[in-house]
Amino acid sequence: MSASHGVATVTTDRHFGKATGGKIAMWMFIAQDGFSFGALLLAYGVLRIVADAWPAAGVSVQDILGINLTAFATFVLICSSVTMVLAVDSAQKADKGATVRWLLATIAGGAIFLGIQAYEYTILSQAGIGFANSTWEGQEVNALFGSTFYVVTGFHGLHVLSGVIYLCFILAGTLRGKYTQGGLSYSPVELVGLFWHFVDLVWILVFTFIYLL
């Protein structure tokens, strides 16, 4: 890929097709980020398997964690993935107005998700689920339950926050008309889209492994 007047051009490559250098780099970043999440989830799995009781004897994960609220947060994130893909589609069609609207909707989705997560953390900490020591209705809870929960969901939350900030920068560029000039000018919107979908994809796995299993 080479940059010419701020607009990316691309070559057709035998191995990568029409993928730009930025796209390949973003995929490599996503892959290494996937390693981080994979390691965290594997560590969580191993700690849970070897635990005597998880989270405590006679207490299920669903008793402590609010599944319906988190399912709604999952739905919000899925919706934001759709708005993101529509933003990329609009940018590809050089439709500035639609791109701005869909990007704003995606940012709103991310902000709502973060709000739900902050609310969930507040409720859980007030109920006794701490980072190191936890109790639930007077009963002692496996200390690793809180640790793994906050580390995995917190790491994901940081990604959502980073994604929202990244989206704000892309929105600012779109408002200036940088990414809707036709050709490959939409490329930065596509890259933030890849990151945002990755955040959604990881949440699908986190929701299952942490909340539902």
Binding site: K93, G183, L213
Partner: protein, 120 residues
Amino acid sequence: MAAKPDSPARHATTAASHGDGEVHDDHPTRRTFFTIFAILTFLTVVEVAVPEVFDSEWNRSTKMLLLVGLAVGKALLVALYFMHLKWERPWLRHIAAMPVYMGIFAVLLMIEHLFRPLVP
């Protein structure tokens, strides 16, 4: 990647945006996105219902298999359609699948560890 004019394997092109909403070699339609969205929403509802239906100790394995299957299915839909992997070349798919390879390797190591006491 700079284009090499003398290389037959690389052809310098500038990809064109189509803007007509039709399927081309590397563009899904909006209808595809909404269909995937509907499927993801439906699968999420099913996911939430699974722990309620399979809440006994004896069907715990069924619950685990169903939930993991649903999660993997949803993740694949996002990767293939929203992240456009379905329309990418194999090399990019290999890069994307690297964490999966790590996961398989880790599971193999854990299985080996589980069966280690059986070996004298």
